[in-house]
Amino acid sequence: MNDKIGDICMNSVQISNVSMHFNTNKQKMNSLKEYCIGLIKRQIDYSKFIALNDISFNIKKGSVVGIVGLNGSGKSTLLKLIAGVLKPTKGKIIVTGVIAPLIELGAGFDMELTARENIYLNGAVLGFSKKMIQSKFEDIVDFSEVREFIDVPMKNYSSGMVARIAFAIATIVNPDILIVDEILSVGDFQFQKKCEDRISEMMKNNTTVIIVSHSIEQIERLCERVVWIEKGILKMNDNTDIVCEAYKNS
């Protein structure tokens, strides 16, 4: 019995019976004119697409979990639900702790601004205070290795450089939960190594890490458990070697 209470305290993320539906109207209805015409003709049809169907699993505090699945299976959707960007159509998600989301590169980067300005802007988007960003500014620049370009507008950056800065900012604090969606695949191998090192460091500090990657080797290297999603349905949730074996053979 005590197990159950322990479970609740030990979980960073609890996902219970979560479904996500998207409206996929043939002609996207986003003007008043079309809406009125639709009303008159009485044919506002909301065909729905089920991106996630009745998913339930828990993620233990301090664990590193990989999510695998083919393109379009709903991995990014699931991460967005955990990060609070999307609200589930059905079900409930309970998250305990501060999240650092790395869902896509550079949320809130304004390419017209310089890297220096963007570090402050993006830090603010992630909810950091000015003081905190100031104190970590040097760390961020060092980690991303873009010191010579710090006052250059970011539109002149390569995508790998953008990824470096994005990763460096999101990981300046020790978040309770780090969400990584295919970010690591952009950088060169040297930077990937650096990121992995930092993730390992965080794991020691009891950060929960959730990784989506199409690189099975990377998942095998980093994760303790793996969740396999296929066409919006939870197919497997088990230890890394078991799931990866099954996934590779599918």
Binding site: I99, E104, A107, G108, D110, L113, A124
Partner: protein, 258 residues
Amino acid sequence: MKYYIQTFNKYLYLLFNLISRDFKIKYRRSILGILWSILNPVLMMVVITAVFLNLFKFEIDNFPIYYLTGSTIFSFFTDATTSSMTSIVGSGQIIKKVYIPKYIFPLQKCLFSFVNLFFSLIALIIMIIILKFEVTYTVILAPIPIIYILIFSLGISLILSSLTVFFRDIVHLYGVITTIWMYFTPIIYPENILSDSMLKLISLNPLYHYVGYFRDVVMYGKIPSLKVNIICICFSLITLIIGSIIFKRTQDKFVLHI
């Protein structure tokens, strides 16, 4: 409630950052940027004064100041609401990637317009000095109507920014509405040319009251009555409450439509 204040505090720095980004983007391009913000209303005033005084021969004392006071308040309102309207759609890239309280975006645009209002006010002050217009001590009450209209604009902005997510074409519609709205606000014509029935109709227009309040304290040395204050406060607060309710009800669906 406590939770709301906490998150607001957490994102206060973001709000400040977004406004300063707007500022940089607007004014960094040209050194004349700030000067232009001051010059623009003055030039408009010169043109309007020349045209209207010669064509229509209205009997208005100090027409340049009359026009400038009215247009400053009215342009602040249109500026704030028009730029807020597309703020959610325009910030789609952020909204799709991280969780942020979404009211930050219309609030940002309103406050940025508020910063720009100060440049228009500088233009007004310069004209008051050049034309040797005598203001009385009541001018210290001028921030009151400005606060009223800021709250009113924020309410309208919350409504418009959430509706725009679902119906993109209201942006064009609103352009027409503000033009009509301007003619229903005494900015270039004096109030006394209006018939009684027209005046009744126009008194339903909140902007009529804000503009009137501003002119009373800046131009006519009058302290607006309690009744006028109550009317203004009611318009502002009711609009803000309606705006907040509409925004709160729809905000979870924004991300699916941008």
